[in-house]
Symmetry: C2
Subunit: 304 residues, 2 copies
């Protein structure tokens, strides 16, 4: 049996929706799983991470796949995995969540689906430690999550952005900004007024994505809780944000914890990405641009 797992890139936070909102993007990792009996684990990687990511049991797709075998009380007699990776690593586009979900979903199907999708999502959130990227990668669309009675509730919110897609330009500078570091620099205490600042804006960002109102998105997509600390640590990022606005984009935010930036526009306009790219160049950083839409669909598993 051969299984194909598709998992999308995701952008978390969306400005004020810090640790609360996440959105799926139409950039997909595609991974083929074949169960073998040769007691070997083989991983072949094409695209993002090829030549960098481990191809043995240290590979994180393998790791999460084996976690599912374990949980199901089954042993793995061999696995051949072929990855076509499109989500760049360490970029703020949810590549680690995508790998985690990919392994879990692939193994679950190989085992005959001992776990429901809901259980897989719960396990993935537990393993990742937060639902920010895992939940929209699984569910698609715009997702808000809360913990209620020790259980994560992730709700897919209606978002016009998903049906009549808002155009999204991601610019990823060649700069190492690990999520751990991006989190460690945040103060444990914040001004009450900054908390309030984000609350009302997160509500309006959600409303703007629901109705496709880019003007509202532009007004609401600012943040007082994480971006002011993170953006100054990424060379050129503030200049790139200013340049994107100047080039006519409606709204810009740090994608997840960065270092990539996400700009929202009514249609694709190369000027936006170019302006951001130049700003990073002036700060001495090369960058890559991804012109994307949002995705209403989440992870997909097909037996082929």
């Amino acid at each position: 049996m051969k299984v194909l797992v598709k998992v999308p890139a995701t952008t978390a936070n969306l400005g004020p929706g810090f640790d609360a909102l996440g959105l799926a993007l139409n950039l997909w990792n595609e991974t083929e799983f074949v169960a073998t009996n040769d007691r070997k684990i083989e991983v072949a990687i094409e695209g993002e991470g090829a030549g960098i990511l481990p191809c043995d049991a240290n590979n994180s797709i393998v790791d999460s796949a084996l976690q599912i075998f374990d949980r199901a009380g089954k042993s793995c007699n061999g696995l051949r995995i072929r990855c076509l990776n499109r989500v760049p690593l360490g970029s703020g586009l949810g590549s680690s969540s995508a790998a985690l979900l990919t392994g879990m979903l692939g193994a679950n199907v190989l085992l005959g689906n001992p776990f429901t999708d809901e259980e897989i999502l719960k396990l993935a959130i537990e393993t990742e430690g937060h639902p920010d990227n895992v939940a929209p990668a699984m569910l698609g669309g715009l997702v808000a999550s809360i913990v209620y009675e020790d259980r994560v509730i992730s709700l897919k919110l209606p978002a016009r952005a998903n049906r009549s897609p808002i155009h999204v330009t991601i610019v990823l500078p060649d700069f190492d900004f690990p999520t751990k570091q991006a989190r460690a620099i945040l103060p444990k205490q914040v001004d009450r007024k900054d908390a309030i600042y984000n609350i009302s804006r997160a509500v309006l960002v959600t409303e703007a994505l629901r109705t496709g109102d880019l003007e509202l998105l532009g007004k609401a997509m600012s943040d007082a809780l994480h971006q002011p600390y993170r953006i100054p640590l990424i060379p050129g990022a503030q200049a790139a944000i200013d340049a994107a606005h100047h080039a006519g984009t409606a709204a810009v935010a740090l994608s997840g914890a960065g270092p990539s930036l996400i700009a929202f526009s009514s249609k694709e306009d190369p000027a936006v990405g170019l302006a951001m790219k130049r700003a990073f160049e002036q700060a001495g950083l090369q960058s890559r641009t991804f012109e994307l839409g949002t995705s209403y669909e989440g992870a997909e598993v097909t037996i082929i």
Copy 2:
């Protein structure tokens, strides 16, 4: 010319939407304005505040009406005002915002509408210092507000609650808890995790009111930023919240800064109000119960 101004009660915060969300309720102050030429200002008050509120130039409706005369560069030659007040004072139901808007809207019509509704809302927000109650009282429905480039943007959000009303039980204990005091006790700094706690919940409270999903409302309507500080200062309030849940209500929050509590249910059930009333009684407080719906309509002005 006689002018009738109707302004609804409002509930602000809605749990996690601290200083961000407000909702209009179908409990109305009705006020008649007559312009006279006798250089007298007369105020007659029936209902809430009768015998307590000043009936001269110190009355806050008069005060805000005269502010509009001033702004329009006109002098007031006399005013006769008759108030039928239904919104209780100092309760957390927006009575001061209602009075402010009433005076401004009444005077504006008497003057031939020199100001647009938008300008009146802006003036009222400036005078009140925040949009929490003024904006939903003016616009009706569920409203979120942000400040953008020194300007308040108040957006009426779609809320199923407004068309197929969710039932609301307000229990107002006989306890003096001025908004100023309720604000002064809040810490200026909060834990980052508490800010995040509220962000995702405010998004989901908005979504629950949009879809009428009371189960979601119950899961999302908790708060880490103001209620934990305010509720312990209102005798019996925590017990009343617990009692309301026990009696089967879906969600309970402090209405505005209190002291009233607001419980949301699918239909009117006297058991909810009764349970809350008893809890306050056991803490030594008498209380009043209001069984209400939400209102999709905001302030209304009629020339009669």
